[in-house]
């Protein structure tokens, strides 16, 4: 499977993502510059974390109009896989490929720490190997408070589009376990067609056993589990 990691001015998790896909998962990876208009036949496009365009105006707002985005939307609309992590999730929400928006954290602080997540639907390319147990994955964001209107939230529930919720280490989804004030503790969602994914936590920062936590690797294992079978 060929992965493409898009680099915007201000992306800073691109090399972590390339490292995991290439060195840990042993997949073909290319970096794509945001001004490129050729996706180089990648099967799976990833928008990494960072601060594209300095988070000017709103997180992800300016990146959404980078030249590559037109091709990325086309790729997604043709059923191609796309995933956004952190700033990438914000960009995908701005583009409308994913529902909702990411607001300033309730405490108005940049939060950088390990949190726990529980997979809500396992019926996706990126969550099929998760169990009901909580996993530990870091977050690092100032604007991660997931928001969508009531109707959209209901659709997310009905269509099983909620990938992950913030939970405690035992998998209890509580207010205390919600680091940023996200509605329904939502940490990640997918689109209705289940080919576009977004999440605020950073699985690529927890995918190498050498770093003492490989809970994030389950996400990449899930992808390969489906694709290679």
């Amino acid at each position: 499977m060929k992965f493409g990691v898009v680099v915007f001015p201000g992306s800073n998790c691109d090399m972590d993502m390339v490292y995991v896909l290439e060195s840990i998962m042993k997949q073909e990876v290319v970096k794509l510059w945001h001004k490129d208009t050729n996706l180089q036949n990648c099967d799976f496009i990833i928008l990494p974390g960072g601060f594209s365009f300095g988070d000017y105006l709103r997180s992800g707002a300016i990146a959404n109009y980078s030249p590559i985005m037109e091709k990325l939307v086309e790729h997604a609309n043709n059923g191609g896989y796309v995933m956004g992590i952190c700033n990438g999730f914000q960009i995908l929400c701005e583009s409308g490929l994913l529902p909702g928006a990411l607001l300033h954290n309730t405490n108005h602080k940049f939060i950088c720490k390990n949190i726990h997540l529980t997979a809500i639907t396992k019926n996706t390319l990126v969550t099929n190997q998760y169990s009901d147990n909580a996993v530990k994955i870091p977050i690092a964001h100032g604007e991660g408070r997931y928001h969508a209107d009531e109707e959209t939230l209901q659709e997310l529930i009905t269509n099983e589009q909620i990938l992950f919720k913030y939970s405690d280490e035992n998998g209890n989804i509580t207010e205390e376990a919600n680091p940023n004030g996200s509605l329904l503790n939502i940490a990640g969602v997918c689109n209705k067609n289940r080919n576009v994914f977004g999440m605020m936590p950073h699985p690529e920062r927890a995918a190498d056993a050498e770093l003492n936590n490989a809970d994030g690797k389950i996400l990449f294992d899930s992808i390969l589990n489906i694709v290679l079978s």
Binding site: A61, Y65, L103, H147
Partner: protein, 83 residues
């Protein structure tokens, strides 16, 4: 013709505005307990070339809906004057 727009972008009323809330809370520290419900948004000015005010209005609205504001979380209003 050139027009100048003064645009206000505010978080939707239903949404918590943590920045505004923090500033509200600090009003007491400067002895202004009468002040409550501070909400903080953005003020943007820009110039637009257009044949008339109606066209300028359409262009600025498009700028707001496409880029300047995210209507899931923000509302916008603007005034338009000949520059």
């Amino acid at each position: 013709m050139k027009f100048r727009a003064e645009i206000d972008i505010m978080p939707l009323k239903a949404l918590l505005d943590p920045q505004g809330k923090a500033v509200s809370a600090s009003m007491g520290n400067v002895g202004l307990t009468e002040i409550t419900n501070v909400r903080i948004g953005k003020h943007i000015t820009l110039e637009v070339d257009a044949d008339n005010k109606e066209v300028a209005n359409t262009k600025v609205t498009e700028a707001c809906t496409k880029l300047l504001a995210n209507q899931i979380m923000e509302g916008f209003e603007f005034t338009l004057e000949e520059a």
